[in-house]
């Protein structure tokens, strides 16, 4: 195992691997080792030692850290100054049955975002700059340490979600934001999936400015630690309001006056205050409300199509679902070991969207394309991009595409 402790050692490790054509499995915390195609490499490149926050200036809204810095450390340092990562990075420990802690670099390399993706953008939208080592062993940088920058190609975007297949992140700079002063969650009880998606679509067309909109069917509610969610015995639609106290109160009032009815009849509602609200959204962010067994797909569709997709999927598969992003994200957990990709991808194809296999056995993650198959010209372009960064194909080969 290669375990560089400095950027220079990282560069040497990769240069050496390129010279003798050794494939590398790039890992920081290792919490997402089961994410992506199962494609073993000859040697592990363990980045754990490249950890630590190198610069943080709250008034500039930027933080720079070595890639393997644990997310928990970043969160704690930000919380001291009432700031946070607005894209709400998830921890898939429960989902992927991993004991390991996620890192900032791993989160960016997988472009993972939570429910606030809806209003605050994805991980990639907060990724301002980087230094990284390419598959040629060259240390390069891109972007900067300021929030507004168009100097050169935006390689932060390209490396976000590239699963370590293009270059190995050394140091990353992210945009940080003030944490909301106040938060609460309105639970709307007993909507059907179609009613919920229709209601969420209506709410997003108002100035209510929800920072989370999720729908939890009964099975998911039963797994929640939050009493009001678990005990009702009905499905729950959850709407989160965040901001200064006066703003949260005003929007809650507006919601009660105008948007908690449908076709003249009012829905039964409960309001979760700050602490319970946080518990619920952490459960949603970290996928804790899905069954512990079974194959899990992350399905991204135009939000108004969410219910339609689920209706079709549940007719064909024995599965549980959770909706996030106002219907635009559907977590699908299929009972059994088979990925059933033909059904899943076939169903979403005519809605526009894509499906990523998040949890499955290594065998299934070898057999079935984990990421949505690309059109021929985009696939060819993606291969050329890979070659432009990693001509020897040594970095996480096959992790994304065969």
């Amino acid at each position: 195992m290669l375990r560089p402790t400095t950027t220079l050692e990282l560069q040497e490790a990769i240069t050496g691997a390129w010279a003798d054509a050794t494939t590398l499995e790039v890992r920081a915390g290792g919490s997402k080792a089961a994410l992506g195609r199962d494609a073993p490499a000859a040697q592990a490149l363990d980045l754990t030692a490249l950890s630590g926050i190198t610069d943080y200036d709250p008034a500039e809204l930027v933080l720079t850290a070595r890639a393997a810095t644990p997310l928990a450390e970043v969160r704690a340092v930000l919380a001291e100054r009432n700031q946070h990562l607005a894209f709400e990075p998830p921890d898939y420990a429960a989902l992927l049955a991993s004991e390991r802690a996620p890192t900032l670099g791993g989160t960016l390399a997988a472009n993972l975002s939570g429910p606030r993706r809806l209003s605050a953008g994805a991980a990639r939208d907060h990724f301002l700059g980087l230094s990284a080592v390419s598959g040629r062993g060259e240390l390069f940088k891109s972007g900067g340490r300021v929030v507004k920058n168009v100097t050169g190609y935006d390689l932060s975007k390209l490396l976000a979600g590239s699963f370590g297949t293009l270059a190995v992140l050394g140091e990353v700079t992210v945009k940080v934001m003030p944490a909301p002063e106040q938060a609460c969650t309105v639970l709307v009880h007993d909507q059907t999936p179609a009613q919920a998606v229709s209601w969420m679509t209506r709410v997003t067309a108002t100035p209510i400015d929800a920072s989370g909109l999720a729908y939890l069917p009964v099975h998911a509610c039963g797994r929640s630690e939050v009493q009001a969610v678990r005990a009702g015995g009905t499905a729950v639609t959850a709407l989160r309001l965040e901001g200064i106290g006066a703003s949260v109160a005003a929007r809650l009032q507006a919601l009660r006056e105008g948007w908690l009815t449908d076709a003249g009849h009012g829905y039964e509602t409960t309001v979760l205050e700050r602490d319970e609200s946080r518990v619920l959204w952490t459960e949603i962010t970290d996928c804790q409300l899905l069954p512990r067994q079974g194959v899990v797909w992350k399905v991204s569709v135009p939000p108004a199509r969410g219910a339609d997709v689920v209706t079709r999927l549940t007719a064909l598969l024995d599965c549980d679902v959770v909706f996030d992003w106002a219907g635009g994200l559907v977590w699908v957990c299929i009972r059994g070991d088979a990925a059933r990709e033909t059904v899943v991808r076939g169903t979403i194809r005519d809605c526009g969207g894509h499906a990523t296999l998040i949890r499955a056995s290594a065998t299934e993650r070898r057999r079935c394309p984990v990421f949505e198959p690309l059109s021929p010209p985009v696939a060819a372009l993606s291969r050329r991009i890979k070659d432009a960064f990693d001509p020897g194909g040594i970095l996480n080969p096959g992790r994304m595409f065969a």
Binding site: S113, N149, T151, L381
Partner: protein, 493 residues
């Protein structure tokens, strides 16, 4: 710029004939007079007549044109509305200028999915106009938004005054259709979020027309905030204004917009628009708070308190929307206002860490004396994006060169304090030769290898962004060496 390819110039008529197989005859411009409107973009100091102008209106035509150009070995320069301030659409004498103005239709307004699908030639503001009746808008608002095109916005990753809170173009984009130099049509993203695979959508945004030609754009639209309040705050020093900005953000307030103007900019804007700016102030801040009424009210009070605590000399809160728009009127007209006090001005676009503002403005004042040219500063204070406007007279021999040298020194200072060369205008030809101030040869070589993945022959908008051009074959294995010859500059007027 790249050396002119005499063989391609010699086959101009042949190429024009090939393009007339693809386009109606009146969409291929050959004559000097009809090509004249395309010889320059928003960076008017640079001019170059293109070999030909092609004006397609379908994706199939764009694809066929690119294939034809590739077979002739002809270069291609894409152009939206031609408002680039960095020379991004500056033509090439041996290249086809590909004008996308005929792609002017909004294809789909999808309220349930909160997005709009538009052709690239649609004006930025036209998208907001199309959806504002239902209470929506498109967030990025570059000051040229009345005319600049959404395709050009994507190519340049355009910003505006609301970026800190609402993001730049890249953060408001959902999908693209684009054509590669090979003629291949690619579609990335759509009405859904975060498509898997490499983020080609993200890397095309801000690629300045060097990677692909954009033929369709899907953007997200946002619900208009319920209210907006603006504060007009005067300060006796730029330092105090800078401290106010830092304290607002440290207090956890993210304004919808936060703009700083220095004394010369205040006076120019006030003389032009009578916005009611305090003429005794050394700096003013316009801070806009938006959201539900209760939020905007309370945040306005908090910001006013912060401003007074750092010694603001005047604090005015807008009592009506008319007054709020009056506060903005001077800022939005700052460029033309400065245009009235000098025959010409040259607009710079560096971004700096906000805390460095006093230091950078002091340095700009020193440089202003050194070069003997006036300067007015407007600053997107929320995101650290500085727009010094250098005043000069192009009719005075040597003044343009001095203005450019002055501007380059400002950008060097921006990089030296930890900032970047360009926040929203792009590198283009203008800042191309300054790229080594910010990037090493290895950094630039990696970017050029990416270019090679999209355009192996380097035919799409060459001469922009990169100070030296390398053939893709040589980028493959050989390391880049120092001291390569720079390409001779563009003819200038």
């Amino acid at each position: 710029m790249p050396a002119v390819d005499a063989a391609v110039v010699g086959r101009r008529e042949e190429l024009a004939a090939a393009l007339r197989w693809i386009l109606p005859a009146n969409s291929v411009l050959v004559g000097e007079d009809e090509k004249r409107p395309y010889e320059s973009d928003g960076l008017t100091a640079y001019r170059q007549m293109p070999l030909l102008v092609a004006l397609p209106e379908t994706t199939e035509q764009v694809s066929a044109i690119l294939k034809a150009c590739a077979s002739f070995g002809a270069k291609v320069v894409p152009r939206g509305a031609g408002t680039s301030l960095s020379g991004g659409a500056l033509p090439l004498g041996d290249g086809v200028l590909l004008g996308l103005a005929k792609f002017n239709r909004i294809l789909d307004i999808d309220y349930p999915n909160r997005c709009v699908v538009a052709q690239p030639g649609v004006a930025n503001l036209a998208i907001t106009r199309a959806v504002e009746g239902r209470g929506f808008y498109y967030a990025p608002d570059p000051s040229s938004q009345v005319v600049c095109s959404i395709g050009g916005n994507v190519a340049e990753n355009a910003g505006g005054v609301h970026c800190l809170k609402y993001g730049m173009t890249t953060n408001n984009l959902l999908g693209l259709e684009a054509v590669l130099m090979s003629g291949e049509v690619i579609r990335v993203g759509g009405k859904h979020l975060d498509a898997g695979g490499y983020d080609i959508l993200g890397v095309l945004t801000g690629s300045e027309g060097l990677l692909a030609v954009i033929t369709e754009v899907t953007v997200r639209i946002l619900r208009k905030p319920e209210t907006a309040r603006a504060l007009l705050v005067g300060f006796a020093s730029v330092e105090a204004a800078g401290a106010c900005v830092a304290n607002i953000i440290a207090a956890g307030v993210i304004p919808g917009g936060m703009e700083l103007m220095d004394r010369p900019a205040i006076h120019a804007a006030e003389a032009f628009t009578h916005a009611g700016y305090p003429l005794d102030a050394e700096a003013i801040l316009i801070v806009e708070l938006d959201g539900p009424a209760a939020e905007a009210e309370e945040l306005a009070l908090r910001v006013a308190d912060i401003a007074r605590a750092v010694g603001a000399t005047s604090v005015r809160a807008s009592a009506s929307d008319e007054e709020r728009l009056r506060f903005w009127k001077g800022r939005k007209a700052a460029f033309p206002a400065v245009g009235r006090i000098a025959p010409d001005y040259y607009c710079m676009d560096g971004t700096i860490p906000r805390r460095k503002l006093p230091q950078v403005l002091t340095r700009i004042a020193e440089l202003s004396k050194q070069y003997g040219l006036g300067v007015a500063n407007v600053f997107h204070a929320g995101d650290g994006n500085l727009h010094p406007l250098i005043l000069y007279d192009a009719n005075q021999p040597g003044e343009l060169d001095r203005a450019e040298a002055f501007g380059a020194d400002i950008l060097r200072e921006c990089v030296a304090v930890g900032g970047v060369l360009t926040g929203e205008h792009g590198v283009g030809v203008e800042k191309r030769d300054l790229m080594p101030e910010m990037f090493t040869e290895v950094d630039l070589a990696q970017q050029q290898r990416l270019k090679c993945a999209f355009d192996a022959d380097g035919a799409l908008n060459p001469g922009k962004v990169f100070p030296t051009l390398h053939r893709c074959a040589e980028m493959g294995r050989v390391h880049v060496h120092r001291g390569e010859t720079r390409f001779p500059d563009v003819p200038r007027f």
